[in-house]
């Protein structure tokens, strides 16, 4: 391990799949505007140095009350320096303590984008967040969903290496999860991670928000390098549950409460993208074989679906 954090190695914006995921979430929030005044909500996230999600939430969704939580004290100036808008408040604090004050008494959209293993999401942040939220608020959680993260752990130095399922039971603090051992594979683990996170949010809501229930809205899987999972939904009392139903999110194919919605976009050159865009929109399916370059049918299909969201990257003179 080099000890570098992901934001130092990759420019957040250069991840087409993550980029599209953000736009789909923004679209869902736009749809919710019909029944909830999302524009007046507070957006809470881990902006890091890139603030990509903050830019989108301000520009596309129209939120202008935003808080970024940053625990690395040594980066305080960089975070402050990089924040793109004046309406972003920087909280130099651990999420576990900051979330409580930041969410209390204010409708919010909170995105706990861990960019690390599942364990990070099970530290109590979710419970703190849900416990402080107002009904009608949204919460999203993203974690790495590679099954490899379960390997090679021990309880303490000198103790034997735990099996993958034992380690999972340990971080989840649950014996029942041991029954899921057959799903600890590269292909099945992301779905399990999504279920575990939805379950956490549901449990937190049931035990800490009397009168409210958790209504799942999103279940995404995508991979720019590592496989990631994002889940999210609304903490809603009976009134907000009815308002949420009015928004008919089920008409949005990507707002998927349980089924995994996969975002699998190809990396395209600018020239390839322009060639494809020229064919779109199209009422009939485009034949991958007729393109001037190779693209697998699944990649083409993914592109056709998200060509409007697909990010364009350009090198700029500094």
């Amino acid at each position: 391990m080099s000890g570098r954090r992901s934001f130092e190695t990759i420019n957040y914006m250069l991840r087409p799949n993550k980029n599209v995921e953000r736009k789909l979430i923004a679209k869902t929030l736009g749809r919710l505007q019909a029944a909830f005044d999302v524009r007046s909500y507070r957006y809470v996230g881990f902006g890091s140095m890139w603030f990509t999600d903050f830019v989108l939430m301000h520009r596309v969704v129209g939120i202008s009350d935003m808080v970024t939580i940053e625990k690395e004290a040594s980066r305080a100036k960089r975070v402050e320096f990089n924040k793109p808008y004046a309406c972003i408040d920087v909280r130099m604090e651990k999420a576990a303590t900051a979330l409580g004050d930041v969410l209390e008494g204010k409708h919010s959209v909170t995105w706990l984008d861990y960019d690390g293993p599942l364990k990070n999401a099970l530290s109590g942040d979710l419970e703190t967040a849900v416990g402080a939220m107002l009904s009608g608020s949204m919460i999203l959680v993203s974690v790495n969903a590679m099954v490899e993260q379960l390997r090679g752990h021990q309880l303490a130095e000198g103790e034997p290496i735990l099996s993958e399922v034992e380690y999972l039971a340990e971080i989840c603090d649950s014996q029942a999860v041991k029954a899921e051992e057959p799903r600890l594979t590269r292909n099945d683990f992301p779905k399990l991670v999504a279920e575990l996170l939805h379950d956490r949010l549901k449990a937190a809501t049931l035990s800490m928000k009397p009168g409210c229930e958790y209504r799942p809205v999103w279940t995404f899987e995508y991979a720019d390098d590592a496989t990631m999972v994002t889940v999210g939904g609304m903490v809603a009392d009976v009134t907000d549950q009815a308002k949420l139903a009015e928004c008919k999110l089920d008409e949005l194919p990507f707002a998927s409460p349980e089924e995994m919605f996969q975002i699998e976009l190809p990396i395209l050159t600018e020239k390839e993208k322009r060639a494809l865009d020229k064919l779109l929109p199209s009422m009939t399916a485009i034949d991958a074989k007729k393109l001037e370059f190779e693209l697998r049918p699944a990649e083409l299909e993914a592109y056709v679906r998200f060509y409007l969201e697909y990010p364009v990257f350009n090198e700029m003179a500094a």
Partner: protein
């Protein structure tokens, strides 16, 4: 002359009848949902023994519950528990089973039953929901009971006698009575619907489902290991039996005594090696399972107890501390007369004023003290102690030999002090690297640097 007031005016009766609402509130107030469900499970277990007695059958000594099972199911809309135990005879249902509390003239409790106060079933029903359906069959006779709690509560069921006095006649209606050759399968099924919000929110909660399974695995460990099968939402529960390390240098303490019809068995020892680092930031195993277990007629009444009820913090035993992680004690009480046993009505608490318990407690405390002292002395030779502890195998409590004084690794006693200080992680890592001990614990680094200085700079 003074007027004499007629005697009739100097005495009167003040009405002290309870209201049903008060009764329901009192009954369900102090009990946890899990405990309610365990109460119903207790009834299913007792039903097995009662049926055997009625039919003059002997249950096998070691595996009395072999072949019996209980299925518990719950979701947002419904709770149900079904057993294939003996069922409730109509006469018992009419006279006792639905009474609030066991009447004094009820048949004697015997042969180690675990349900004793006669409130478990009613309490569970009132706690969970508004609509109850119960079907019970002995294989010969059967009945059903349908109850709408709210309707029952609103009907006072008080009859005014001719002399104007109120008489309570609380009852539940039994229907579909079959007195001979019933077609209903032997056993009892209780189904509760129109669940209260506080209840379905727990049934929906994945954490509750987990907790339910864990509690049955632990509190029913002794009963499950004697043959009963319990399923929760289709998942079969495996018993989690307390186990003790036993090896060449290490063995649990065990004390056995029978007094006045109560058998007391006290076992204490190490179930895991104590931790090396017990500071607030250390990552230690979940300490829930460690501490004392009190078991009455195979039913675990308190588990992993670390309170003064089991002697912690009562001189000379120290109060619980993470340093004692790894300690486990089991105090088992058995009697044909469950009234003698040290449990409270919820069966989730030990009755510490019970005479038999008071007799056992000093023995428990002596065992605790020996082991807590050991966790201090073992620090002098922590590595040697850990080797011995790890070499020992975990043995389930029922296989521990009776009246064993126990063994612990012998540690030469020295006058020891603790050194504790804080340094920046980066510096400690750098020292670790210089020592060639990358990845070692800070404790290890501290010991090595101290030894380095001691060897070089201090004349010995």
């Amino acid at each position: 002359m003074t007027d004499t007031v007629p005697a009739a005016a100097t005495v009167a009766k003040a009405n002290a009848n309870p209201s049903k609402s008060f009764f329901i509130a009192m009954l369900t107030r102090d009990i946890d949902l899990v405990d309610c469900i365990l109460d119903l499970l207790d009834n299913s277990v007792d039903g097995i023994g009662e049926a055997a007695r009625r039919e003059n059958r002997e249950l096998p000594e070691q595996q009395p519950f072999a072949g019996y099972k209980v299925e518990i199911r719950f979701d947002r809309n419904k709770f149900s528990i079904q057993d294939w135990s003996g069922g409730i005879p109509i006469q018992v249902a009419q006279d006792y089973a639905f009474r609030f509390g066991r009447p004094d003239d009820a048949p004697a409790l015997n042969d180690g039953t675990i349900g004793l106060y006669g409130i478990g079933m009613k309490r569970a029903i009132f706690k969970m929901g508004n609509v109850v359906n119960m079907v019970s069959s002995t294989g010969v006779e059967s009945f059903t009971m349908d109850l709408n709690v709210d309707a029952w509560r609103r009907d006072p069921q008080i009859v005014e006698r001719e002399d104007g006095e109120e008489v309570m006649e609380w009852s539940f209606d039994l229907n579909d009575l079959q007195r001979q050759g019933t077609g209903v399968e032997q056993g009892t099924t209780i189904t509760i619907t129109e669940l209260y919000e506080g209840i379905w929110r727990q049934f929906e909660n994945p954490v509750f489902r987990d907790k339910m399974q864990m509690m049955i695995a632990r509190d029913y460990a002794f009963i499950l290991s004697r043959g009963l099968e319990v399923f929760v939402n289709g998942v079969k529960i495996k018993p989690e039996m307390p186990a003790f390390r036993e090896g060449a240098e290490i063995a649990p303490f065990k004390h056995l005594e029978v007094v006045d019809g109560v058998r007391m068995e006290i076992t204490a020892g190490l179930t895991d090696p104590p931790p090396d680092d017990t500071s607030a930031t250390a990552r230690n195993p979940d300490s829930r399972i460690y501490g004392w277990y009190v078991v009455c007629n195979d039913r675990v009444v308190v588990s992993g107890d670390k309170s003064s009820d089991t002697g912690w913090g009562v001189k000379p035993v120290p109060a619980w501390h993470p340093q004692f992680i790894g300690f486990m004690g089991v105090a088992r009480f058995e009697s044909d007369d469950p009234n003698k046993l040290p449990w409270k009505t919820t069966k989730r608490d030990v009755e510490s004023s019970n005479a038999f318990y008071q007799r056992a407690l000093p023995v428990m405390m002596r065992a605790t003290k020996r082991l807590t002292d050991y966790t201090n002395t073992r620090r002098a030779e922590a590595k040697k102690a850990k080797r011995a502890e790890k070499a020992a195998e975990a043995k389930p409590v029922q296989r521990v030999v009776a009246n064993s004084v126990g063994r612990l690794p012998v540690i030469a006693t020295k006058d020891l002090v603790t050194i504790q200080y804080f340094r920046e992680r980066a510096d400690v890592d750098a020292v670790a690297e210089a020592l060639g001990l990358m990845g070692s614990s800070p404790t290890e680094i501290g010991i090595r640097t101290f030894e380095y200085y001691l060897k070089r700079e201090v004349s010995q």
